[in-house]
């Protein structure tokens, strides 16, 4: 399972990005994206912003769950009060080769079917991602509260990056 | 000062007549009469002269202080006891009470001036601004009133971004709050 997380500002400008893999089920926390997929991920993620714009006015929740799909990549979205978007692209393991196997109990192994993210739309996965987003939101608010931070500024703090990484390890 | 006997409390003469504020250079920065007829009216120019003259007299009385600065610290008398200074006389030169002084306080100069018809109390702030409160001789708790006036000054004058230090006080808010406070005293 690999994740690509990005924070997008109000002008659709990226503020922060981070790639990581699952740490559950003995995962090593490394992202396993193919080299060309890493660039593609950025496009996929940003193309989902159009959908965010539609969904955000019908649902007042901060966490909008999975809003977009591109082949096997699922995109979950969390939108803050000030309209900064947290987008998480998640790709179930092995799905890059067998795209039809998502959620199919017959083709996935016992190990991956219990892991968070094996089924991107299952309630467990949704909850885990929500917990991840909530923790990042907490830290994002702290970043924003810094007197040296202005809205839509890139977040460069290494502490923030560590905190996001820790949240990823903890929940995903 | 012993509290006045009960029949005196009903005395309608108990009144605060006027307030004058003098800046540290001796310039008049505030002047207000609360009770018509308590004091004779004098012209604005006379007020300016009064402020300047008082400033000078105050400076001299501070120099007149008979006690040397080192003995003043050991010989502390509270302001309220100095309020009994003889009528028309001047000069009690003792700093405010409280036992935490680490260095002798500068002599305070003239604090009370009493005449047949009124008593004038002077309070000098640490920054050298002087408040003169003119009250009826039977008025009690002038210290308290002075304290409150000083409070109002620090709030509504010093915290006002449009007030320039040392310049005449023109703050609506101060006028309003001071007016209602003094009215409260005078109607009590």
């Amino acid at each position: 399972m690999s994740y690509y997380f990005a924070i997008i500002g109000t002008q659709d400008n990226p503020l922060f990005e981070y790639e990581f893999g699952t740490s559950k089920q003995g995962g090593d926390g490394q992202a396993r994206f193919a080299e060309q997929a890493r660039h593609l991920n950025q496009f996929v993620l940003h193309s989902s912003l159009d959908i965010v714009e539609e969904v955000q006015w019908t649902n007042g929740q901060l966490y909008l769950k999975v809003i977009d799909k591109f082949f096997t990549s699922h995109i979950s979205c969390f939108i803050t009060g000030s309209n900064t978007k947290f987008l998480l692209l998640h790709q179930p393991p092995g799905a890059t080769t067998t795209s039809s196997s998502i959620g199919g109990a017959t083709t996935t192994t016992a190990r991956s079917s219990t892991s968070v993210g094996a089924n991107p739309t299952s309630p467990q996965t949704e909850e885990a991602i929500k917990a991840f987003f909530t923790e990042v939101y907490d830290n994002y608010v702290k970043a924003v509260m810094s007197p040296f931070y202005k809205v839509n500024m890139e977040i460069r703090s290494p502490v923030f990056r560590q905190r996001v990484a820790a949240a990823g390890r903890k929940y995903l | 000062m012993t509290p006045p006997p009960a029949h005196c409390i009903l005395n309608f003469n108990k009144t605060v007549f006027a307030l004058i504020i003098i800046n540290k250079a001796g310039g008049l920065i505030y002047n207000r009469t609360f009770h018509e007829g308590g004091l004779n009216k004098i012209s604005t120019n006379d007020y300016l002269v009064l402020a300047g003259t008082f400033h000078g007299v105050h400076a001299i009385t501070a120099r007149l202080n008979p006690l040397s600065p080192s003995t003043t610290t050991s010989h502390r008398t509270s302001i309220s006891s100095t309020a009994t200074a003889p009528a028309g006389g001047a000069a009690s030169a003792v700093g405010g009470g409280g036992g935490m002084l680490t260095r002798p306080e500068a002599p305070s100069g003239l604090e009370v001036l009493e005449t047949e018809n009124f008593r004038m109390q002077c309070f000098t702030t640490l920054t050298g601004v002087k408040f003169l409160l003119f009250a009826d001789t039977t008025q009690t708790n002038v210290d308290l009133a002075m304290r409150r006036v000083y409070d109002l000054y620090t709030d509504y004058v010093m915290k006002n971004p449009f007030y320039q230090l040392e310049m005449p006080v023109r703050c609506d808010m101060f006028d309003r709050k001071l007016g209602s406070y003094i009215r409260e005293i005078n109607n009590r």
Binding site: G60, Q61, G81, V151 | N160
Partner: protein, 218 residues
């Protein structure tokens, strides 16, 4: 899109130039809710605000420009408070304001309570049919003006323009772009109950009303 660089390389590069506070704690180590109920001395704020007004007053050409500057000082605060106040909401009510009314209620209740320890006094919609985009938030006694006497020659000025800026920041941040101005409406007479009564006039951009109409239909 600008590529921000893969995580590791970027963080190791930046770490070199970072200086931590002497106790090793950064803003990320502080809990967000610790100061939720903390209070600030009104005196210290009054002195600070007094200096902010004096600062804004330097080299301004007129009252409007001064108000504009005060507004700009408040704007980023509004943007930031929007996120902070939302995180402090309990999960059940943690929702983004989607309508003008929800947003104004958020301002009247949450924002005001956070800033001034009480709610705003009233919320009104413009009764003039020509200006359906105007709303009014009324504060009988703005805390920021508590010790301020505006000189007669500047009678147009209301220093609560700073608070108007905060409101504008909240509106802009929540994607309800608006123009907010502060107006003194209290009378100057002696017996006036609220001489400092201030109306914050919130004028939303036309696209906000357009969207509002669309959402209403949907």
């Amino acid at each position: 899109m600008a590529h921000l660089g893969p995580g590791k390389a970027a963080s190791s590069k930046e770490q070199a130039g970072l200086r931590y506070p002497s106790n090793g704690k950064s803003i990320y180590h502080r809990p967000l809710n610790r100061t939720k109920t903390a209070e600030l001395s009104q005196s210290s704020f009054a002195y600070l605000f007094s200096e902010m007004v004096s600062y804004a007053q330097r080299r301004v050409t007129g009252i409007q420009e001064l108000e504009k500057r005060l507004n700009l000082q408040g704007h980023p605060i509004g943007l930031k408070l929007l996120d902070l106040l939302l995180t402090r909401e309990p999960p059940r009510t943690q929702t983004r304001p989607l309508t003008i009314i929800a947003l104004l209620h958020f301002i009247k209740i949450n924002l005001w309570t956070h800033l001034f320890g009480r709610q705003a006094d009233r919320l009104e919609k413009s009764s003039n049919p020509d200006t359906p985009d105007e709303y009014m938030i009324v504060d009988n006694e703005p805390v920021v003006n508590a010790y301020i006497s505006v000189p007669r020659e500047m009678s147009q000025l209301n220093c609560a323009a700073f608070v108007a800026g905060i409101i504008e920041g909240v509106c802009d941040g929540a994607m309800f772009p608006a123009r907010v101005t502060a107006h003194t409406v209290g009378g100057k007479e002696e017996g006036e109950m609220w001489p400092g009564k201030t109306v914050f006039l919130v004028k939303f951009q036309p696209e906000v009303l357009e969207r509002e109409a669309l959402i209403g239909k949907g």
